[in-house]
Symmetry: C2
Subunit: 390 residues, 2 copies
C-alpha cells in the first residue's frame, strides 16, 4: 500500500525485534504498549499524565466512539487527536470484538453485523466498509480491519468458517480504506488455536498486503501456554519487515514472552483496570494495595519506579486512598501501572539492542517471583471489551 508509514528494524535478538515505527503523528519505538482509551480517554489519566508515563501511541475504540459521541461529531470537532488532546499516534480497534461480545444483541451475516447499542438499545449495523469509514472519520493513525473474533473454544470447522469470513472482510476493509501518507491499515490474523488455520490466515492477509499485521482471537480463555504456542506457529508466517500487533495482551509476563517471539505492539486494559481496583504491577510482582499489610508501610510502592505514586507517596498512603474510596487512589495506581508497562517495553527494547534479552528476561521473571499476575488478577486479559465501559 502507498504510505509514508514506515517500520524499520533497529536490532534483533533471535526472533525478538527492536523497531521504529514512523507515522503521520510521530514515531513509536517498539516493542510498544498502547494504553487503552476506549471512549476517547484512558481512564483516570490526563493526556499530560499519559505523556509523562512514557506512552507514544494509544488505542481507542471505534465501536464505542461511533455510538457515543458519534464519528461524525468527532470529525466535526477536528478528529480524535484534538478531541482527546493526544496529538500522537492513535490506533483504533475496528469494533468487531466489541460487537461480537454483545452476544444475543447482534446477528452476523456475510454482509456484516447488525447489533443493538449497549447504551440505549438502538439498532446499528457494522460492515467492513463502515468500520473503515468510522475510523477515517475519527482520523485514526492506524485503522484495523473488521474481523470476527472467533469465540473460544471453537471446533476446527467453526474456526475455519469464522477465519475465512474475517479474511473476506479483511479484503473488503482493504478495498474501502483510503490510503493517506503516514496512516495505516492493519489486517488481523484469526484461526483460533489451530496452527494451520493461523498460517492460512496469515498467508491470506500477506497476499492482500497490509501496513501491519495483528494477531487477534487470543487472550480469550485459551491460557498462557497455548497463546504462546499459537504465536510460535503464526509469527514466522508474517512478513518480517512489517509491524506485528498482539491484540488485547496482556500481563507483563505475556508481553515478555511475546516480545521474545517477535511481537512489536500490544494493548490491554489490564494495567488501567488493575489500577482502579488497587492492584499494582511492580518489579516484585503484583501488589493489592487494599491489603492490610500496607496500612503502615512507609516504603514507596516500587523503589525501582520513577512515577509520581512511587516517588511521592508511601504504600500506606495508597492503601488509605483505596480504603477511603478516594479517586486519587485509582489515578495514582493507573499512572504507576502504565509507567510500569512503558518501562517494561523500554527495558525489553534496550535489552534487544544490547544483545542481552535472555539475561534481562530471566531477571524480570525472577523479580516477579514466578507469580502469575493473571492468576493474581483473577481473570485472563480481555481485548478492550464492552464491559470496560463504566
Amino acid at each position: 500500500m502507498q504510505s509514508s508509514f514506515h517500520f524499520a528494524l533497529a536490532a534483533g535478538h533471535g526472533p525478538a525485534r527492536a523497531g521504529l515505527l514512523q507515522t503521520a503523528h510521530g514515531a513509536i519505538q517498539t516493542p510498544a504498549f498502547m494504553p487503552v482509551g476506549t471512549q476517547g480517554t484512558v481512564k483516570a489519566m490526563t493526556a499530560d499524565a499519559l505523556r509523562a508515563a512514557g506512552a507514544e501511541i494509544i488505542l481507542a475504540n471505534a465501536y464505542h466512539l461511533m455510538l457515543r459521541p458519534g464519528a461524525e461529531r468527532i470529525a466535526a470537532l477536528g478528529g480524535l487527536h484534538r478531541f482527546m488532546d493526544w496529538p500522537g499516534p492513535i490506533l483504533t480497534d475496528s469494533g468487531g470484538f466489541q460487537v461480537l461480545s454483545l452476544g444475543g444483541l447482534r446477528t452476523i451475516s456475510e454482509e456484516g453485523v447488525v447489533f443493538r447499542s449497549h447504551i440505549d438499545g438502538t439498532r446499528h449495523s457494522l460492515t467492513p466498509e463502515h468500520a473503515v469509514r468510522v475510523q477515517h472519520l475519527l482520523d485514526a493513525t492506524v485503522s484495523m480491519v473488521l474481523d470476527e473474533c472467533t469465540a473460544f473454544p471453537a471446533t476446527p470447522e467453526a474456526a475455519c468458517r469464522s477465519m475465512e469470513l474475517s479474511m473476506r472482510w479483511a479484503a473488503r476493509s482493504r478495498a474501502a480504506y483510503q490510503p493517506r501518507p503516514g496512516y495505516a491499515l492493519f489486517g488481523i490474523v484469526q484461526g483460533s488455536v489451530y496452527p494451520d488455520l493461523r498460517r492460512k490466515s496469515a498467508a491470506s492477509l500477506t497476499t492482500l498486503g497490509f501496513d501491519g499485521y495483528a494477531i487477534g482471537g487470543l487472550a480469550v480463555g485459551e491460557g498462557h501456554a497455548r497463546m504462546l504456542a499459537i504465536l510460535d506457529a503464526t509469527l514466522p508466517a508474517l512478513p518480517p519487515g512489517s509491524p506485528r500487533y498482539l491484540m488485547g495482551v496482556g500481563t507483563p509476563l505475556d508481553i515478555l514472552e511475546a516480545v521474545c517471539r517477535g511481537v512489536d505492539l500490544f494493548d490491554c486494559v489490564i494495567p488501567t483496570r488493575a489500577g482502579r481496583t488497587a492492584r499494582a504491577f511492580t518489579s516484585q510482582g503484583v501488589f493489592n494495595l487494599r491489603n492490610a499489610r500496607f496500612a503502615a508501610d512507609p516504603r514507596p510502592l516500587d523503589p525501582a519506579c520513577a512515577c509520581p505514586a512511587c516517588r511521592r507517596h508511601s504504600r500506606a498512603y495508597l492503601h488509605h486512598l483505596f480504603k477511603s474510596g478516594e479517586m486519587l487512589g485509582a489515578m495514582l495506581l493507573t499512572w504507576h501501572n502504565l509507567h510500569y508497562y512503558q518501562q517494561l517495553c523500554r527495558s525489553l527494547r534496550a535489552a534487544i539492542v544490547a544483545g542481552q534479552l535472555p539475561a534481562h528476561a530471566a531477571a524480570l521473571r525472577a523479580g516477579w517471583r514466578a507469580v502469575d499476575p493473571a492468576a493474581e488478577l483473577g481473570r485472563q486479559p480481555q481485548r478492550g471489551d464492552v464491559k470496560d465501559a463504566p
Copy 2:
C-alpha cells in the same frame, strides 16, 4: 501567643484587606481559598495539580483522619504534609462540625462529645484537648479549636448556651495547644444569627488571644443575606491585625461579598463537589456540562481561563466524558473549578491593592449574570461535612 506565624496587611480598600500570612510551611497571599482535602486528598486532584491550580494552603479534616487512618499513624509516617505530598500550609478543621452532624450517633456534654464512627460504628470521644492533640499529631500548620457548631435555626437561649460552651472549649483548646514557631491556633466565633451573641463570642476569643479568628456556624441554612448581616455584625469586633476565616463558605458570590467585608480565608467543598457532578464555575456563571447544548460545542469551557480543561479541550469533550461516566470529567472539572476559585481570590487581591475593588466586584457580578450559583447548585454550601466522604 508566641509564634513566628505572622499576618501582615499589604493593602486595604474599605473593610476589604489584602494580606500576607507567613507560616512554617510557606506564605499565603490573602484573600485565599483553601481546597478541601477531607480525607487527606483533595478529591480527584494530584498534589501537582493543586499546586498548578494556584492553591497555597489546603484544608484537611481531623475527624476523618483520626478515624482513618488514625492521627498516630500519620504522625509515624512523618505527618500529613508528607503523607499527602503537600509541603505547603495545611489547616485542619477540629472535627466538631463533623461530629455534630452525626446527629443521633453522638452525645454532647461539658467535657466533650462521645460519638460512634460513621465508618464502623466504633465508639470514640472528642474533647477540646484531644482535638488539639490530634491536630498536633497530624502536624497541622493551623489548628482549629473544638467548637459546637450551633444548629440552625436556634432560639436565642439555645444559641447562647451553645456559644458559651464553645467559648469554654476554646479556652481549654488554647490551654492544651503547644505553640511552635510558624504554627497557629485559631478560635471560632459562634452565636448563630444573633449579632449580640456574635459580638460576645468575638470578645471572649479576643480576650483569650488567638493567632486567627474563624467565623463558624454560617452557611448552615440561614441564606446569603443573613450570612452577610452576621459578617457585618461580627467582623468589626475582631482584632484588625489578625487573619479572619469564614468557615465552609462558599459560592463565588459569597466569597466576593465576604472579601468586601474583610474576610481573609475561605474553604468550601462546592468547587470540588460541583466538579464531580459536571458543574463548572465560569466568568459567565455556572454551567452544567451534562446539558445537551454542549454536546457539539467546540468552544473552551471558559475562554478567560488558563486551566488544562479550558486550554486543551472543548465543551463537547467535557460533555462526552460526563455522559460516558469517565473519571477524567471529574478530574478536569475539579481542576477547573479550583483554578477558578484561586483566580477569583487573586483577582480580588489585585483589585484591593489597586484600589479598584468596587469596579472589579461589579464586573464579576455582571459576568455571573445575577445567577445565584447556590440556587443552580441546588443547596447551600456546607462546611466539609461527613456526607462529603464517598
